[in-house]
């Protein structure tokens, strides 16, 4: 049996390398196909029923995804703003209390260490959420700053409630004020004596919220959401369905779309925000931040490659496909990092790294796609076009208050 982090009876870490999250008993009950994955030391559900069923719930109803394993750091102290402004590429001083923002952080060479979301909880209190642990980098960055950094992953349970019906479910659960929360805002609420922090954020590119709570309240919150949500189509989803949605939204996944700089071993494998098409999150005018000088130099020189969106002909996902400038595959110019058939867009989409000269919107390329058809491999050379990387961005994700579904 899997122990939960908060149960207090957890077996020694070396005997029980994967912990359950505080939602484990609940998710276990719904995980019909028994497919789990390890995520930062926790066992989490990969698929509950089928990926398709879960995916369609994201886009057409509402879904709950357990994000407790997300690494969370509490960053506070007199220099918290100065520290974070030196750490990340966006202007933290301009992030208001009660707001959150997507942000990137780089090493000295301007290569992406990781991306994540930064919550401003008070004048000089922040929470940084990231896919991976990286206390070493955060502490190295703290030299010379009066700031405290503490990992609080285990102290906060969190659910991501996403989909067009997510606000309606919160309202039905008795959290009506959430409706006034604009995108990237954070609010504090009371659910029958349970203290909740809710932010309007998520990884699906759609209307959605993230609910943060004490682990002891985890099951009660889950139950309340499902009590009122079941009739509205609420489903629990695993990582696989979420991955589909995040590719549609054009969001990047570490290890898949980029190698975190501190983990890249081979020269030239790490990527800069400019190469990843994230320049709009880099504020060169705010003052110094780690990697700024290298990025300015790279901007002057022009990045070597770019991470672009692709619209691929046909309906076979171009997974891991090599890309060529010509149909005869003589000049290799990049590779696909993420690819799916998008059920909502009805397009065969991909995220791909291409050499800079081939990154302009509209550029036509060729993808070499391999298909395994009952153990017989077929090779397809398929035309692909460079397009905006945000494939799915419905208006409803921004509307405040959200429409009632």
């Amino acid at each position: 049996m899997i122990e939960t982090a908060s149960s207090g009876t957890a077996a020694p870490h070396y005997r029980q390398p994967l912990l359950g999250t505080p939602f484990h008993a609940r998710s276990r009950a719904l995980a019909q196909v028994d497919q789990y994955v390890a995520w930062s030391g926790y066992s989490t559900v990969d698929v509950y029923t089928t990926v398709e069923q879960e995916y369609f719930a994201i886009r057409n109803a509402a879904t709950v995804y357990d994000i407790t394993p997300m690494t969370k750091y509490r960053i506070a102290g007199r220099d918290a703003v100065a520290y974070l402004d030196r750490l990340v590429t966006r202007d933290v001083a301009r992030l208001r209390t009660g707001r959150l923002g997507y942000c990137l952080w780089c090493n000295d060479d301007g290569e992406l260490v990781d991306d994540g979301t930064l919550f401003r909880l008070g004048e000089s209190e922040f929470r940084l959420c990231a896919a991976m642990r990286q206390i070493d980098w955060l502490e190295a960055s703290a030299i010379g700053f009066d700031v405290s950094i503490e990992e609080v992953t285990e102290r906060i349970a969190a659910l991501s409630l996403q989909g067009p019906v997510s606000c309606a479910i919160l309202k039905a659960a008795g959290l009506g004020e959430v409706a006034t929360l604009p995108p990237f805002a954070i609010g504090r609420y009371d659910l029958d004596g349970i203290e909740l922090t809710i932010s309007r954020s998520g990884f699906t590119g759609d209307l959605g919220y993230e609910i943060w709570m004490d682990p002891s309240a985890a099951e009660a919150v889950w139950d309340r959401l499902f009590d009122v949500g079941r009739s509205r189509g609420l489903r629990a989803i695993g990582s696989r369905a979420l991955d589909l949605a995040r590719i549609e939204a054009g969001y990047l996944s570490p290890w898949i779309d980029f190698v975190p700089a501190e983990h890249a071993i081979r020269v030239g494998r790490a990527r800069s925000p400019l190469e990843l098409g994230l320049e709009r999150f880099v504020d060169f005018d705010k003052g110094h931040f780690t990697g700024r000088r290298a990025l300015l130099e790279e901007r002057r020189r022009g990045p070597r490659s770019c991470l672009v969106g692709l619209d691929v002909e046909g309906n076979k996902p171009a997974r891991a496909a090599l890309l060529y400038a010509d149909a005869r595959c003589r000049r290799e110019i990049g590779a696909v990092t993420s690819a799916v058939w998008s059920p909502t867009c009805k397009r065969n989409i991909a995220i791909a790294r291409v050499d800079a000269p081939f990154s302009a919107l509209g550029t036509s390329l060729w993808a070499e796609i391999y298909l395994n058809r009952e153990l017989v491999w077929e090779r397809r050379i398929t035309r692909a076009r460079v397009v905006e990387r945000t494939f799915f961005a419905p208006e409803r994700r921004r509307a405040t208050p959200p429409a009632d579904f």
């Binding site: 960055s141 030299i143 700024r292 000088r293 290298a294």
Partner: protein, 517 residues
């Protein structure tokens, strides 16, 4: 708080001897230059001060070994009052049995033939190193031809040694002094004294890898000194700093003492001047710091203007000193057993064998000082009576090894080390204790405080192969430049390191002038 005062082309932080050399050279090239020194006097660790009423000593560096003769000439230091009090000082090793050993080279040298052959070869290696010392290391990975040329030149210098010498240099370059001396000589006192020179001012013992390099580094300085050998100016080492100040002023530089810089001002990612402790702001197109790299980069500039990885690198630079200074005011001339008056004016070392030095070092590794310390002793007032009242004398000694942090703390240990030192001296100079009228012992934390050198290290940053040339002050350093445009370093923490040589200051001036061409 006063508002913006004047605008200079260059502000130099710190009137250490390197800062003064740098300022003099920049002023000579027509730059409007201001030197700001935190203390009331110039010179940094190259200074001569009253440490007891009527008694003066060179309380940092006390013997010159690395000042290039060419620098004297360039700045006309003789015209600014620099006189030598004593040159080519002999070195005498004091042995436990009350005898002495003459460890100098020459016709009467111990193991004369082997010594002569060894010295000739070592001098060629030191000569190669001296060439590296006199030049700004190239920057790697730039398209600049001057950098590539510089790199080629360094390689070429090595080739020019010839195949056999080059092979030998590569063999011994990272070796330890103990093994090299052991395979070359027999005499314990000779080996002890030479090994002592190899490790003087570093965090090494004779058996530490890289101690041949630190020895060559010292010999490179001696080789470029124009045959003066070990020497001392009239009035002490501080007189050199006074001459440098005078040369800088004559070239048009302004020197302000009692003007501590609180921080380096940065605007739009460029150093634009400095702010003093009292709030005064001084603008300048270029800021050069002669303070140690940690002080300059972490304290005066601040982490927020630097990348995190770089700050971590700077923080990890090794910079704690291991040498202490002892100053004694004596009411009469000391008698040292077996040492004649001529040798008494020279340098005396207590390093009777390599094992003795190594054992003294061993203690330091564990935060202890040794009751059998290795010492470099001078009696400067014998040659320069101006340093002490009539008939009285001064003893100045460098003490190896006194760790920056001692178990028990220096408040407690300082007087105990003082006692141990007096005991050690008394063994060779019976009656010395009774003639002591005042005594001062500066351990590394005192040196840090007295001279504003974070860590109190002889070379600001440890002198070692991994902190030398292209790797000094940090790996990938770009000459004297820092990551912040307009801010440069010119102190001992830069290539080629410390010792009173003026090379870092001279190279920095050259580098800055070349950048602004």
């Amino acid at each position: 708080m006063s508002a913006v005062a004047a605008r200079y082309d260059v502000v130099v932080i710190g009137a250490g001897h390197n800062g003064l050399v740098c300022a003099a050279q920049l002023a000579r090239a027509g730059r409007r230059t201001l030197v700001l020194e935190a203390r009331a006097r110039v010179g940094g660790a190259a200074v001569t001060r009253e440490f007891a009423p009527g008694f003066r000593a060179s309380t940092g560096a006390h013997l010159l070994y690395g000042l290039p003769a060419s620098l004297d000439a360039e700045l006309g230091l003789a015209g600014h009052g620099l006189r030598s009090a004593a040159e080519r000082l002999p070195t005498t090793s004091l042995l436990p049995d009350g005898t002495i050993a003459d460890v100098d080279p020459g016709p009467a040298a111990i193991e004369g033939a082997a010594r002569a052959a060894f010295d000739r070869r070592i001098a060629r290696f030191a000569g190669y190193l001296a060439e590296l010392h006199a030049r700004v290391p190239p920057r790697l990975g730039t398209p600049d031809w001057s950098d590539r040329f510089e790199l080629l030149r360094a390689g070429f210098g090595l080739r020019r040694l010839g195949r056999r010498d080059m092979r030998e240099l590569l063999r011994i370059g990272a070796m330890n002094a103990y093994d090299l001396l052991d395979e070359t000589f027999e005499s314990p006192p000779l080996k002890g004294a030479l090994a002592f020179d190899a490790v003087l001012g570093t965090n090494f013992g004779p058996r530490s890898p890289g101690s041949v390099f630190t020895w060559l580094h010292r010999l490179a300085g001696l080789g470029a000194g124009g045959g003066r050998g070990l020497w001392c100016p009239q009035g002490g080492v501080g007189a050199l700093s006074a001459a440098l100040e005078s040369a800088a002023r004559a070239a048009g530089a302004t020197v302000r003492t009692g003007a501590p810089v609180a921080r380096i001002l940065v605007e739009a990612d460029r150093a634009t001047g400095v702010e003093l402790d009292d709030g005064e702001r001084i603008e300048a197109a270029v800021v050069v710091s002669g303070a140690d790299p940690k002080t300059t980069l972490l304290r005066l500039l601040g982490a927020r203007h630097l990348d995190a990885g770089f700050v971590r690198t700077v923080r990890h630079l090794r910079n704690t000193g291991l040498a202490a200074k002892l100053h004694l005011a004596l009411d009469r001339a000391p008698q040292i057993v077996g040492v004649d008056p001529a040798r008494l004016r020279g340098r005396l070392v207590i390093a009777p064998s390599m094992d003795y030095v190594e054992r003294a070092f061993d203690h330091s590794k564990y935060g202890e000082w040794s009751t059998a310390p290795a010492l470099e002793i001078t009696l400067p007032s014998l040659a320069d009576p101006s340093l002490a009242p009539g008939g009285a004398h001064v003893l100045s000694a460098t003490v190896q090894y006194a760790p920056y942090t001692v178990a028990g703390g220096w408040e407690l240990e300082r007087p105990r080390l003082m006692e141990a030192l007096l005991d050690a001296l008394e063994r060779h100079a019976p009656g010395l204790r009774r003639s002591v009228v005042a005594a001062q012992l500066l351990v590394p934390p005192d040196i840090e405080r007295e001279y504003g050198i974070a860590g109190g290290h002889w070379h600001h940053l440890e002198l070692a192969l991994d902190q030398f040339h292209l790797l000094r002050p940090t790996p990938g350093a770009r000459g004297h430049a820092t990551p912040v445009p307009g801010l440069y370093l010119c102190g001992a923490g830069c290539h080629p390191g410390g010792g009173v040589t003026g090379l870092a200051g001279r190279n920095a001036a050259q580098f800055i002038l070349r950048q602004s061409e």
